[in-house]
């Protein structure tokens, strides 16, 4: 029940952090990471996971 970010593909634009309704995304040593404990896959907030919907690189914010 969570999303993760494939670091090797991430451009570190930060759009996902901006859109996440759970504040589950933050930077660790320059890389964006999703805190699985906080991620709800946006259920109850929005019809689709916001990080995956806004991410400019395909298959970079993916379901664990």
């Amino acid at each position: 029940m969570a999303y993760k970010i494939i670091v090797s593909q991430c451009t570190a634009c930060g759009a996902c952090e901006f859109e996440c309704p759970n504040a589950a995304i933050s930077t660790k040593r320059g890389n964006y990471v999703i805190n699985a404990a906080l991620c709800t896959e946006c259920e109850g907030h929005f019809p689709a996971a916001q990080c995956a919907a806004v991410c400019p690189v395909p298959d970079t914010c993916v379901k664990v």
Binding site: A12, A15, E19, P47, P56, V57
Partner: protein
């Protein structure tokens, strides 16, 4: 590294003034505006030191971009967010993303080192308005440090209506919207998706939403008196014909300036268009479209499609000199150099305007064809660069109608310090195709001969003269026999 024009070089001796410029009143002496003909003096006050908004200003003033807003809310087929290369010069490309704190340090360092600096822009990668938190913080802090620096931003327009009030309240006077289409069917071929209202939209529906938001944003800017520039990427076979419609609509909605830029497309860039083999327009195709649209919103023809972290006069990029690791940890802004430079420009500009008017009168008396003249300049509005040192030539069209800047053409620097590379010269010759004459501060015998063999005249007779005066003098000499005999 490109050499920026110094205060001293602006004071370089000018050639003796030509004909009527020597007598009569100058624009500044009469107390009237130095604005180019047809421009409202009040608008001129707002654009005269913005190199992108006023062609005349780009001879004197420099801009810098800071990449503080990397998040974007749309995808464009000419953009690939994964790539970044220090050797590439094109919009959206940047070497290092900055936090607002780092950006302020960089702006202060540049303002202390580059007295020509007049504008700070946030122009990607990403969208300055969607990523508004970062843009706002940067602007607020820069404004506190350097109050007279103009703030400028560019956006795809999707988030613009949400932030126009904040933009206006902050005193941002120049906003650029990239508008590539009016018809959503065409838009869908350029922008595959958008992220809006917490959803990803695709296809024609996405393009329709984007279009509506762009139009609303443009109207809101114009209603608040903010100068709106519209950038359009010209994509042959997709929107090239359609840009006439874009021009018509944005003109009618009150856009101040329309900048049609050629698509930059290469498979190595990894963009959808690049991989698909979509070509960009040729310089001739671009100019033909621009000429066809003359009469609508003012067309910007001096765009260099600079990198999103460019620093310096248009056409040069000193960005690499101001990378983070080269910046002092703490630096105080010293306004002295910029103030001195501004005073100097105010003075020389009146003189330049008078000479420009005189040159216009001189060519108006001719009965000669329209020809293209290439000029080597380091800025300051003068013919003051050596042929071999030029990294670009500014192309002017001269005819009895007047002397008009039409484009710049980039070349590889020919001179390698005492010697020149023949292969490079070949490239320069190809780039100068269609040019009647090249006006330079100095040129060697060998390249001059090669130019002449290619049917291009080269002259250093007008070295250090004002660009327009030099062009008019060369034109009068070249077509001497065709001066109209008027009473």
């Amino acid at each position: 590294m490109a050499q920026i024009i110094t205060l001293e070089s602006l004071l370089a001796p000018a050639a003796p003034p030509t004909s009527s410029a020597a007598s009569g009143c100058t624009a500044s002496a009469c107390g009237s505006s130095q604005a180019p003909s047809g421009m409202d003096p009040a608008v001129w006050e707002r654009v005269k030191d913005h190199p992108c908004y006023a062609e005349e200003a780009h001879h004197y003033f420099a801009r810098m971009h800071v990449a503080v807003a990397p998040a974007c809310n749309i995808q464009c087929n000419y953009c690939n967010r994964k790539y970044d290369c220090a050797n590439e010069s094109r919009p959206g490309v940047v070497s290092e993303k900055l936090t607002p704190d780092q950006a302020v340090r960089k702006v202060v360092a540049v303002a202390n080192a580059v007295p020509q600096l007049s504008v700070l822009g946030v122009a990607g990668p990403g969208d300055a308005v969607y990523d508004w938190r970062h843009t706002r913080e940067t602007f607020e802090r820069v404004q506190a440090a350097i109050p007279d620096l103009r703030l400028c931003l560019s956006t795809n327009g999707l988030a613009l209506p949400d932030h126009v009030e904040a933009i206006a309240a902050m005193g941002v006077d120049h906003v650029t919207i990239t508008i590539n289409f009016i018809d959503p069917e065409i838009g869908a071929r350029i922008h595959p998706w958008i992220f809006f209202n917490h959803q990803r939209h695709t296809g024609v529906e996405a393009a329709r939403i984007l279009h509506e938001r762009q139009m609303l944003g443009l109207e809101m800017l114009v209603a608040r008196g903010i100068l709106a520039k519209v950038n359009s990427v010209m994509i042959p076979g997709i929107n090239d014909e359609h840009l006439a419609e874009v021009n018509r609509v944005v003109t009618q909605k009150g856009a101040f300036l329309h900048n049609i830029m050629p698509l930059i497309s290469d498979p190595a860039h990894g963009t959808a268009f690049g991989l698909f083999g979509q070509r960009g327009p040729t310089p001739a195709e671009l100019k033909a479209l621009q000429d066809r649209l003359a009469g609508g919103a003012n067309l910007m023809r001096h765009c260099r499609q600079c990198r999103a972290d460019a620093v310096g006069l248009l056409g040069e990029d000193r960005g690499q000199e101001f990378n983070l690791d080269q910046l002092p940890a703490e630096a105080a802004y010293d306004p002295a150099a910029r103030a001195t430079y501004r005073d100097l420009v105010a003075e020389t500009r009146g003189e330049h305007a008078a000479h420009r008017d005189a040159a216009r009168d001189d060519v108006a008396a001719m009965d000669a064809p329209a020809v293209l003249v290439a000029v080597a300049t380091r800025g300051g509005g003068r013919i003051n660069e050596h042929f071999g040192h030029a990294k670009e030539f500014q192309v002017y069209e001269v005819s009895p109608e007047g002397i008009r800047f039409t484009a710049h053409r980039r070349v590889e620097q020919y001179c390698q310090g005492g010697w020149g590379e023949d292969a490079t010269l070949e490239g320069v010759l190809a780039t100068l195709a269609g040019i009647a004459c090249v006006l330079v501060a100095k040129i060697g015998d060998c390249p001059r001969q090669s130019l002449e063999d290619a049917g291009i005249a080269a002259s250093q007779d007008h070295a250090y003269d004002w660009i327009e005066s030099g062009i008019a003098a060369w034109y009068a000499q070249r077509y001497r026999s065709t001066v109209r005999l008027t009473a």
